[in-house]
């Protein structure tokens, strides 16, 4: 990786930290502590299930919100504030800028997820007083959540390369919601006929398949995750992320920075 990409990535990470993005960790810690105490008192026998479901879903939603809201501003904010001019007038290629920005935000989200995951494990320990082997699958669920973040960050960057921040946020959120129901969309496509079938099938395969990256419910029920799913999800997310980033680079390479 070039030094320039690493510099841009580390500066993006530093910006997120200094903009107090990681303050959401405090909110998350308070939410998890409160929830753990509450479910410990209310739910008998399913405390673990509730804590895992609540914790991992919150990690996913917090991360998606951060990925979209920072992701859409990664390029547009730099253009609007003209900070990009002093970067691109140096020996920095436009693709290096996009990749550096992506890696910086991805790094922020990984650190964010790590600390939130510590909170979930702490809450889990609080309610059950021990860990068990099946809790290891939580790490796979967390890994899939990070893959979701990579896809959504790349999509936010792609949209922000050609549209306004508000439009980018709307597009990215819509894709996240539709992608979370991608399996249902595929099911609907299979049942439809004629042009509707073709359109629904096309849309189902075009949107990111976030539903296959969501194994929160199964790991909460202590069900293992197949190795083949881990491999296929990894390949799918990396390919989708790569394509979205290539799209962002292609658009940004041709963009006039007025």
């Amino acid at each position: 990786m070039s030094t320039r990409i690493a510099s841009i990535a580390s500066n993006t990470f530093r910006e997120a930290v200094r903009d107090r993005v990681l303050y959401n960790l405090i909110a998350f810690a308070l939410l998890m502590s409160g929830a753990a105490i509450l479910v410990g008192q209310l739910s008998i026998g399913i405390e673990r299930l509730v804590v895992i479901n609540l914790g991992l879903t919150a990690i996913s939603l917090f991360g998606v919100v951060i990925a979209i809201f920072i992701g859409i501003g990664l390029v547009s904010k730099e253009i609007e504030k003209r900070t990009l001019y002093t970067v691109l007038s140096r020996p920095v290629q436009r693709w290096e800028f996009i990749v550096g920005k992506f890696l910086g935000l991805a790094g922020t989200l990984v650190v964010n997820t790590f600390f939130m995951a510590v909170g979930v494990f702490a809450a889990l320990y609080y309610v059950s007083r021990h860990f068990q082997m099946a809790d290891g699958w939580l790490l796979v669920a967390l890994y899939f959540i990070i893959l979701q973040f990579l896809v959504i960050t790349a999509l936010a960057l792609l949209f922000s390369a050609f549209s306004t921040p508000v439009e980018s946020a709307v597009f990215a959120f819509l894709l996240f919601v539709i992608g979370s129901f991608a399996q249902d969309l595929r099911g609907f496509a299979a049942m439809a006929h004629g042009a509707t079938r073709w359109l629904a099938t096309g849309a189902a395969y075009l949107v990111p398949n976030f539903s296959s990256l969501n194994v929160i419910s199964s790991v909460a029920h202590e069900q293992p995750v197949a190795g083949s799913l881990i491999l296929s999800n990894t390949a799918y997310a990396l390919l989708y992320t790569g394509m979205a980033l290539c799209g962002a680079v292609l658009i940004f390479e041709r963009r006039n920075l007025k």
């Binding site: 030094t3 320039r4 510099s7 841009i8 500066n11 530093r14 910006e15 200094r18 903009d19 504030k81 003209r82 900070t83 990009l84 001019y85 002093t86 970067v87 691109l88 007038s89 140096r90 020996p91 920095v92 290629q93 041709r254 006039n256 920075l257 007025k258």
Partner: protein, 313 residues
Amino acid sequence: MAAIEILGLAKTYHVGFWRKKENCALKPLHLSVEEGEVFGFLGPNGAGKTTTLKLLMGLVFPTTGSAHILGMKINDPTVKARIGFLPEQPYFYDYLTARELLEYYAELSGVAPKDRVRKVGEVLSRVGLPDAGNLQLRKFSKGMLQRVGIAQAILHDPKVLFLDEPMSGLDPVGRREVRDLMEELKQDGKTIFFSTHILSDAEALCDRVAIIHLGELRGVGAVADLTSSVEGKVELVWRGNALPASLTALVTECHISGDTVRALIPEHNQDAAMEALRRDRLPIISLTPVRTSLEEYFVDQLRPSQAAAGMKS
């Protein structure tokens, strides 16, 4: 070899919802700046100065034409390591300190890690901010940000500097300091291409200037050549208390004070005016040439009717 060579660079934006309306920001521009030269790019707001600089920096893409800096095409990444750019009204990452920002730019410019800290310290001192390195940029005044802007432009010791309105936002002392710094950079052999609408700065600093208006080049040359190209005037002073009828057609401006008359006369009317005074037996006190200022030349070039006639290269 020319440090900067612009060959018919032009930019037209397509605007409107369907992008069918054309907005010509820069008409084909031909310009050459020699190495070691301080070149002023003058024009009123919206003339096309910033568009030209953005084209040269690769921030916007030309509709037609090309440009070379130090003999290399402007989209060649190696040329970027040898140029410095100060955008108009620069804004930087305000969560960083001045030192962190300059270290970041030094990394991007390929400054060796062992030299970074030293170079950042040196450049901060050079722009008059030796004690502000550890202060976050959000706490900086406009003038201090302009100095940081200049610091980041010269940090990596570039051969060619592009400065967009470098004096903007500075108080008179700050402007003087930047002028002195530009003189120093010229002494160091740097080529400086700077845009400004402050003509006194251009007059004091530039070897040559170009005047641009409505995206069109109106004149290029050394300040002295440009100002002498405009027809000069003379101030004729004689003893009297009125403007004789024979002179009214020859004089452009006239002031009478006591028994002295001062009149501004175009150079080509000089002989006729003196002859008229002799005929009327009015004693001539003095005849002084009036130098045309760059400002007068500038205003003259902005008049649409003289656009074509004023071209000079």
